[in-house]
């Protein structure tokens, strides 16, 4: 790969990473504004107003809207015809480092066990990168997520007994949000994974979290459960910010996979009101389009 092209590749991912820290994706911002409109309790409304002020200040001053810009996680779908496959890992690490130093993002990453801060959000296994192959495509689809501390704390995964059923799933989710939700900056995005073991259920819950708010599972029974859990969580009234109001969540997404009859794995991943995720496509000529922030960037 020519050096100039390589630099263009890095810059594209760097700008995308920085943008994700400064602007909320369209779906999150729209739902937040809607919740502000729907809120009836006066003090709670004031909290939503503070969030909306923060969003406009971040855009105006071009600064990360929350100081915790998280640990950077990239979820990459690599088209088998994308020409620069070999360069991807190094480009992502370089883009993460450059975005951290130049935006600036907060250098969060500390080395495992040593707790020494590396200063640029790269390190052993950081940024976190996951790859999937897309046969026949010449595009690179890049999704990224900023995993903040407070909103990652509720995350957990558990294997239930199948006889606990749907009620068991609901109870586990409600209890988790009840115990940990108030400190995770609600209204929350809740991702739920249903699978066989703790690990795959956790991974599915992350995939669910990456899906835009308002979208539904293509599996009808799962889609119905998304709405039921959303309504159940909202009736707790934990948002905004644990002060208490009329709702709890921005949305609830579930990703499910057919599972072992003897297990019922449930994973939970949560994002805060400032859930920062981005979604872009880089074509084989390195031209790119951002899917997640079309409206947000117009301002």
């Amino acid at each position: 790969m020519e050096e100039a092209l390589r630099q263009q590749f890095v810059k594209t991912v760097q700008d995308f990473t920085a943008m994700t820290g400064i602007y909320l994706p369209d779906d999150v911002e729209a739902r937040l504004r809607e919740m502000h409109q729907q809120e009836k309790i006066e003090n709670a409304k004031t909290m939503y107003e503070c969030m909306l002020t923060d969003l406009s200040l971040a855009k105006e001053l071009h600064r990360p809207l929350c100081q915790d810009t998280g640990v950077i996680q990239y979820f990459v779908e690599v088209g088998t015809e994308f020409p620069y496959q070999a360069e991807i890992p190094e480009v992502l690490v370089e883009a993460c480092r450059a975005a951290t130093l130049q935006t600036p993002l907060r250098p969060n990453v500390v080395e495992p066990l040593a707790e020494h801060n590396t200063g640029d959000n790269t390190g052993y296994g950081a940024p976190y990168i996951e790859y999937e192959l897309v046969p026949g495509s010449s595009d690179l689809r890049l999704r990224m997520y900023m995993a903040g501390g407070g909103c990652s704390l509720p995350g957990r995964s558990k294997v239930l007994m199948p006889l606990e059923g749907v009620e068991g799933i609901k109870k586990f989710v409600y209890q988790t949000i009840l115990d940990w939700g108030a400190n995770a900056c609600p209204p929350l995005c809740v991702g739920i994974g249903l699978g066989t073991c703790a690990a795959t259920s956790a991974m599915l819950s992350k995939k669910a979290l990456l899906r835009p708010i308002g979208t539904h599972s293509t599996y009808p029974a799962v889609a119905k459960l998304e709405d039921e859990i959303r309504d159940g969580l909202n009736s707790l009234g934990i948002a905004p910010l644990g002060f208490g109001g009329s709702q709890t969540v921005l949305g609830v997404n579930i990703e499910a996979a057919a599972h072992h009859p003897a297990t019922l794995g449930v994973g939970i991943s949560t994002g805060c009101w400032a859930t920062r995720r981005g979604d872009m496509i880089i074509h084989k000529d390195l031209s790119s389009e951002i899917l997640s922030h079309r409206k947000s960037l117009e301002v």
Binding site: M47, C50, M51, L57, C66, R106, E167, L178, L241, W273
Partner: protein
């Protein structure tokens, strides 16, 4: 009318505040989180240029930038989860005479007791609203304990009408988030 606390904070300034009240802070404020608490409480080390007595701390780890003249400034500085400091906060208050703790979410029983006994309060700043907070920092005065890294260092700030701060623990032993938790728990039990 805005209720504004100014540093140094006397007991009189906070004694009549009650959970749910909204206040603002003008004066000196230092960030202090996990490692800072360990340093003060366990290692008994105090910063050289910041006074905790009658003072205020902010559970926060900022993003600090440099302007074109090389001067550091607050880019983004929202609160972090206060509950993480629960094991150290009561001792911190007793050892230093701190009056105001600002953070995110609530704190637990030990801190609530210490606030009552030694005359201090905990307030919650709206989580995530980090640029709002940065704009209320008039001046970044200095930094200590940079060996702890940017998020954990003690950043000393001069703030003006810093808030909104919602009183979550008052001097009478009331705890807003504790009360809320009971309400959420009752609603949860109805759901099952």
């Amino acid at each position: 009318m805005k209720k504004i606390l100014t540093t140094p904070i006397s007991y009189d300034q906070i004694k009549d505040l009650r959970i749910g009240d909204t206040v603002y802070l003008t004066g000196m404020l230092a960030t202090c989180r996990d490692s800072g608490h360990r340093r003060v409480v366990k290692e008994k080390i105090l910063p050289e240029n910041f006074e905790f007595k009658d003072g205020a701390i902010f559970h926060a780890g900022p993003i600090v930038g440099k302007d074109e003249n090389g001067k550091q400034y607050m880019v983004s500085v929202g609160p972090t989860t206060s509950r993480r400091m629960e094991s150290a906060e009561a001792d911190f208050i007793e050892q230093t005479g701190l009056r105001l703790i600002i953070g995110k979410g609530g704190m637990l029983e030990k801190t609530t007791e210490a606030c009552k006994k030694f005359g201090a309060i905990h307030c919650a700043f709206p989580g995530g609203c980090a640029v709002v907070a940065a704009q209320e920092v008039e001046e970044l005065v200095g930094v200590e304990w940079m060996d702890l890294g940017m998020p954990e260092a003690l950043w000393i700030m001069k703030v003006k009408e810093f808030g909104p701060l919602i009183v979550s623990i008052d001097t009478q032993g009331n705890n807003l988030f504790d009360n809320n938790k009971k309400i959420f728990q009752e609603r949860f039990e109805k759901l099952l």
